[in-house]
């Protein structure tokens, strides 16, 4: 098996860290509003796992596709996206069916929020380097 690319590893860790932080915030909101139950935690854990696994698999696909010719790479990415969508559908359906629906769905959008925050940290980093 090919080793995981350093860039993919770094970005996945960044996304995983932010997803966990935002999940903690979400759990605290559930606690404060008095809606917290164990199924909120389990739904949240499943959704965090799904979101991070989806990002990791996307990274692995990109890593593999980068070495190929254009047409192959595009087809590989399209197939991967469909497969990952089905994986997410299955895992999220499981979470909605067994645990709290909101807690099983909301963390799927945390990677997108993490990416929105990314330019702030990049600016800070480049600012300290200068």
């Amino acid at each position: 098996m090919k080793k995981l690319d350093e860039t993919v590893k770094k970005e996945t860790l960044y996304i995983a860290a932010w997803t966990v932080i935002l999940s903690a915030v979400m759990e605290s909101v559930f606690l404060v509003t008095g809606l917290w139950k164990p199924d909120v935690l389990f739904g949240n854990l499943l959704a965090v796992f799904t979101a991070v696994l989806n990002f990791l698999l996307m990274g692995v696909t990109i890593q593999k596709a980068v070495g190929r010719d254009e047409k192959d790479a595009a087809n590989m990415m399209r197939f991967s996206q469909s497969a990952r969508m089905f994986m997410q559908l299955a895992l999220t359906a499981l979470g909605v069916f067994l645990f709290n629906p909101a807690a099983a769905v909301i963390p799927l959008f945390f990677p997108r929020i993490a990416i929105t925050f990314r330019p702030l940290f990049d600016k800070k980093k480049s600012g300290t380097e200068e």
Binding site: T7, E11, D69, E70, A73, M77, Q81, L89, L108
Partner: protein, 96 residues
């Protein structure tokens, strides 16, 4: 009553299927992005790391659109039918 419940369930399933049409777009977009990135890396192999990072983030953003559709479909399949049938039953009971 059975007919109304059947129509509700059918419409929910139809809506979920139609929502998933939005899942096609991100796949095509990501495929095109990766193809262009391969071309860019082929021209400038030293930019591989920077291109991969940008592409990863871009693909994740593009995929969110599909995720919205996925969530709508899941809600329509698992949550909406029960609630809509409950509303229908309550309305029928109130009307007698």
């Amino acid at each position: 009553m059975e007919l109304a419940i059947g129509i509700i369930l059918g419409c929910c399933a139809l809506g979920a299927g139609m929502a998933m049409i939005a899942g096609i777009g991100p796949g095509i977009g990501e495929g095109n992005a990766v193809a262009k990135a391969c071309e860019a890396i082929g021209r400038q192999p030293e930019s591989r790391s920077a291109v991969t990072t940008t592409m990863l983030m871009g693909c994740a953003v593009a995929e969110t659109t599909g995720l919205y559709a996925l969530v709508i479909a899941i809600l329509l399949i698992f949550l909406a039918p029960g609630r809509l049938v409950n509303i229908l039953v309550e309305t029928m009971n109130t009307l007698g």
